[in-house]
Subunit: 453 residues, 4 copies
């Protein structure tokens, strides 16, 4: 028995949103989920992490994104219900009884994200997906309590959509597939806030050519170009925004800063005799609970960083200062031919006075713009199926030259990061001049090269 509609609001409520105009809520369950501390906390976690160091406008939090995914999912349900209502079980059309689970999964899909998730998870071995699941299914959370008003099993249903194990693939694909509400919201939203044009595809048009089918969600072939445009927009956002070298450089600094803090904590020394960043200690100790996790946000981390700029540990204080005051490392591209030169470059940097463990890094950022279905892959993606007038399906890259050209080929680059100082002429430190010159001889047009002997 599903009690979702028992809590229908008499009048719709509206969140004004710069991307969707209005986000409409007509159910008390949804309102209450939004008002939990677990959800409100997303206001204090930036959606794009270090990207705002590159695109200063992109300071938006995960809060708005989660509302946006909810709104797109709501519009999908409406469109499906208007145009493809199921008449009998198993007819492959849309059963509107799936709406509650779809809306809640959409709203909550990113609930477990912490501050600077990617880096944080790298250093502390946390997992935001697992935490999302816990926040939904653990009976101690406010989220769980609210979801249980729908039915005892409802929290697990919602979690299973996010886990991709829910029985109805239409619902799963609404929230997570190559063209889902999640991606459609963040591309539009991140484009809006960065002020770039790349992520702007025609959302209305894509929604209008979606249709429920037996195995999930397909697209009318008449909308092929709208889907194609979305795929290309997504690729452009990865290459232009998400993989921007300056953002990645700031992420490298953040990573090394947290690594250094962890090291200091685990190796107390004279410089930092009393290093006790309380809110991080559960994570330094690999022993944290949900409340420890929920207490963290971007501001907590930067507050520690502000403290650390006064540390007597030079590496800690310098990296903290580089992060807070936006002094990114420089980077150059390398490939499998020039990879062998990295130790040489690291040595030069060490010789020039930088601890190369903390002052160099490699980072590869690659994205598979699109791929056909490979059932043998552990993390196989669904492919995009287009529906022809006679009812046959055809896979997207069969009809789109553009998509075919990027399908199955990872886009991105591998970069080596190092202090900007290595590229500067520093007359005042003449002693290092030959080192700088040698270092620079390995670099040309932003790539590592093998210098001519």
């Amino acid at each position: 028995m599903n009690h979702f509609y028992d809590e229908k609001l008499r009048r719709e409520k509206v969140f004004r949103d710069p991307i969707h105009g209005q986000i409409i809520v007509d159910n008390q369950i949804i309102m209450d989920l939004i008002n939990t501390l677990e959800f409100q906390r997303l206001r204090r976690i930036k959606q794009l992490g270090t990207s705002s160091f590159t695109f200063h406008g992109a300071e938006h939090s995960r809060f708005g994104h989660c509302l946006g995914v909810y709104e797109i999912t709501r519009q999908m349900c409406n469109y499906f219900q208007r145009n493809y209502p199921s008449k009998s079980a198993g007819d492959g059309l849309w059963n509107d009884e799936e709406r509650p689970v779809a809306l809640c999964a959409a709203l909550l899909h990113d609930l477990g994200h912490g501050p600077y998730s990617h880096t944080f998870e790298h250093i502390f071995h946390t997992n935001h997906e697992q935490i999302t699941r816990q926040l939904i299914t653990d009976s101690s959370t406010n989220i769980n309590k609210i979801l249980r008003r729908v039915s005892p099993d409802f929290p697990h249903q919602v979690a299973s959509v996010i886990d991709h194990t829910y029985h109805n693939p239409q619902v799963v694909q609404m929230i997570s597939s190559q063209v889902d509400a999640d991606r459609m919201d963040y591309l539009q939203r991140d484009a809006y806030y960065t002020g770039t044009n790349y992520g702007k595809f025609d959302l209305d048009r894509v929604l209008h050519v979606m249709r429920p089918v037996k195995g999930g969600i397909a697209f009318e072939i008449s909308g092929m170009h709208a889907v194609e445009d979305y795929i290309i927009s997504r690729l452009q956002m990865y290459l232009q925004v998400y993989f921007h070298p300056v953002s990645r450089s700031m992420e490298v600094i953040l990573d090394h800063l947290l690594m250094r803090a962890k090291y200091i904590y685990q190796h107390p020394n004279d410089f930092e005799p009393d290093f006790t960043p309380h809110m991080l200690m559960p994570f330094f100790n690999n022993h944290f609970n949900l409340n420890d996790y929920l207490a963290l946000d971007d501001g907590v981390l930067t507050t520690y960083f502000i403290h650390w700029t006064h540390s007597r540990d030079d590496i800690l204080s310098d990296l903290a200062s580089r992060f807070l005051n936006r002094r990114p490392f420089k980077s150059v591209i390398y490939d499998k031919n020039t990879q062998e030169l990295l130790p040489t470059l690291r040595n030069l940097i060490q010789t020039a006075g930088f601890n190369s463990q903390y002052y160099t890094a490699v980072n590869d950022s690659f994205k598979l713009p699109y791929d056909t279905y490979h059932p043998q892959d552990s993390n196989a993606q669904t492919q995009i199926e287009l529906l022809q007038p006679n009812g046959d399906f055809i896979e997207l890259s069969q009809v789109s030259t553009l998509v075919a050209s990027v399908s199955g080929r990872e886009a991105g680059d591998q970069r080596f990061f190092f202090p900007k100082e290595m590229l500067e002429s520093r007359d005042n430190i003449e002693i290092f001049e030959p080192i700088y010159e040698e270092f620079q001889s390995y670099i040309k047009n932003n790539h590592i090269i093998k210098p001519k002997e």
Copy 2:
């Protein structure tokens, strides 16, 4: 001797900005100012404080706004130089030698803002304008060092523009007047991020009808409607966005939270035996220096608030939780006739179990949408002068019915804030039911009324 142009960049650099598209920097002085820690810190201070609790999209920082004011000022200089270049001193036209001081003042005009400035200043008696001045003129700051590369006197010139004491009123009015680069940027920017439409006026058109005149800056009469539209847009933004009752409510909670923290610090008790929020203590003690101030940002405050949710002081922990998890007070409008009822209402609230010092508040938000010049006023605003074809000036409200209708009349309201619980039927606490009912008898259509006997 002005060395600004010695540092012209060979190629323009660009900040991508969602409002202006591109923010163009062609001088190393400007780049270096942006890269100081004083300026980078503005990334960690939200432009609109608690407004993002109402308009979730409006999480942007002061950093982008400051760049935007710079950009508008740059465009003004360009436009004036193309169309109204001074030919001889005192001809009332634009002398492009004023560009360096105009650009730097524009960029730095908000440098002294701290976290949630309005509230912070209220509780701690700081003054962001004075701190801006210090950050520019104190020889210890990075900002000052960079400005001195232009000339020894340059920091004081820049500060004097911000102080309105600079000798050339054109420059002063560019940065601060009824139609200045500051307001023009924030109206557009805040409209963009809130997703509201109210702040959208035609910036290009307003810039195009500005012109330098002897006493400052005037407007071609042909552009009257563009200026009028700007005035009305500004008023709408105040009434719809800046004065939104929910944002003010969250500000009230913040204010009372900081007030309570200060009280606890100054009155140590058993509940909080070791209350030592280090970064705030200089302010609790009314004894802080520039570095203490520069160490603060939004994240530092919210980090303390997260700690305080665990306080054994009920008021501190409850207010901290209300702020972090967005549980605003409700509010109703009162006026001079119903003001006398406030003590009664406070008593009822106290009786219902809330400390009325912390759980009630009044807040009046009024804005003078426009006014003509009143030289006797301490803080007299310049009035807007329109230039007619024959060279005569006419003041804006003389020709605009709309502006005349709002000129000299403050818009806004006075509100009384109280816990939402007072409006709810709470069956489980029957004992308070009559109090709630009596309280509610004083409220009708969001106003305080005198109940009929």
Copy 3:
């Protein structure tokens, strides 16, 4: 018996629209109405007549506007049905059985417009409202045949909505009231195409605060500012766009050109011995039928004008050329004090060699931005009612200072138009120099003045 829903489309069809994104049609009746020759003809009639001579972007036709009014009405019906569905007759809520008549009236409300309607009607005494009615109710039209598929009486119902005589005031006010789908579409649309900002109000927000009430449509008081913004936007569009002096000047030329053509037709002379503009002749003769009218469009008129540039009638050819090649008259403002000077000015113009009947004109453009209800007025407008939490209504100007300031006061001006040549120094025609000088002595700052003796 209403057969509208018998013709529901299996899948929604979409018109891509720059204003609304998508215009959704889910019924064959609507599709068929759009595909009639009567409706397609609207593609060849510009929405804004001569305004594109001022705002070159505004070349859009009435076709898109009519679709837009349909779309807004559709959204109103959806919103009302979701939030205010009628439960019993006379409860003042929305009865969705009104949807067919609302949608058809919205779509067809401007069907009778001809080329440059305002001017055309002035010269030829046609009436686009009456023709709209005929096109809907005359059994010979395609429109009528399609509407009759719904029910025999349906055409008259649709016409009665447009006539304001339909029994349900909610439907009438959707299409025609101070805040209706018609005005809401054209303000947004005309702002988009002109590239001005003035007409941009928050359509979503206004729609969201509308609600059906017993006497028609009211607005939640929480949306007061959205409605206020709409009223002010509308006023600004009138003053800035619709009343632009250059557009009015081109309209004056058009008016005089058609007047001259009519004169020549009615007074055959040697210059134009064979003046037979066939498609206009029914109108010159005051004897036309629906087909004569439907054959006209903007292109037919301009085609005649192109012919007429070769006329041996100097006035006809010169005015045709001024219109086609955009050579507007100049204009100045006068008022009741300076009105007495018009004969003097006309004389000067005549003396300078221009036939003052064709080369001068007066035009007053005034708009009542808003007004309260005056039942005694022949053409009384409904006033805007706001609904308070306790269910009471309050009239808009009671709570909005801005609206109060413009309510009941006509905005606009009176202008006198004359050839630009009167303002130019024309050294080559020295003989007229004193006339020009005298003429110019009556003009100052774009107003007619009484020159000092």
Copy 4:
């Protein structure tokens, strides 16, 4: 001696434009060119011909586009002059003395377009490029007279830019190359008016990475993605907008309509004994002068079409009516394998009662999205060169996977057009039923197929 700057305006004038915001004119020569009848006539010629039958918003004329190309060129000159001013002849940098010829060529590049140019040229063998050249260089035109005020040779210089024979390739490539002001304006403009998203690339960013080099114009490699995005946007606009089957279908009808009219004129018959469309006769007779051409516009053609709907020639009247009332042919895709079936299909259509010469057509629309330079080609396009930090060039498709995937491969399709009636079941004409069924057996999923025997 160049007298362009003698005519600098004291104050800039502004055209408000929905795409560029403001189009700024600061020279009387430019103003006077815009005010000629030759240029004003562009207001009466739609930019996108029959596309507005598909995208109803796209009713804009060539007038705004020409202003837009001027504006982009102006911005290029400004950017080049600020960042890459030539210091000595032949240094490959920008010589601002080229500005007058660049601006005039930009403004006038489309001057020779007539109504529905593509179709008109097909039927009447006119050539808009040649007419553009004549309008600029023929001493009888107003355009020529104005240009000669700059210098006697100036008209020929302007024409030579449009002809690609001007000596400075930078100027030629500004106006005509793979990334030129012409394409950049129309992509943005057509996207705006159609309401599609496809043509929106980042104009500011592309302009900002352009730079003059010795052989023309190159792009900073840092802007690779912006250029790539432009190329892909352009391709999408071709596939989605310019090649839309409905627009092409309406063009086919227009083509056959004019073809029929020409045939009737050349073969007088009893049905149309007095067929004398005066303004078209010079073109029917292959003997026209500039004035004949300048008298034509979209409205003249549609006026004739309105007349022709009353023709007793069934084909002429039916095609005229299909065009005016938007009743497009249907179309299906064929390829070289199914091309052999076209005669069979035409026969079926003829048998069903349609004259297959007028009621069927083939149309192939292909676009080379990008190509590298092939000097042997008659119409060789310049390739896009990116400039690396060390000064080396690299061709775009060498670094962009996306561009490489579309480079040198034509995109588009071949379609066969036929009356919609062939796809409808028409119970009332049973006699043709078997023909329709056979016809439909050749069609599947919008393609011609070989039916299974």
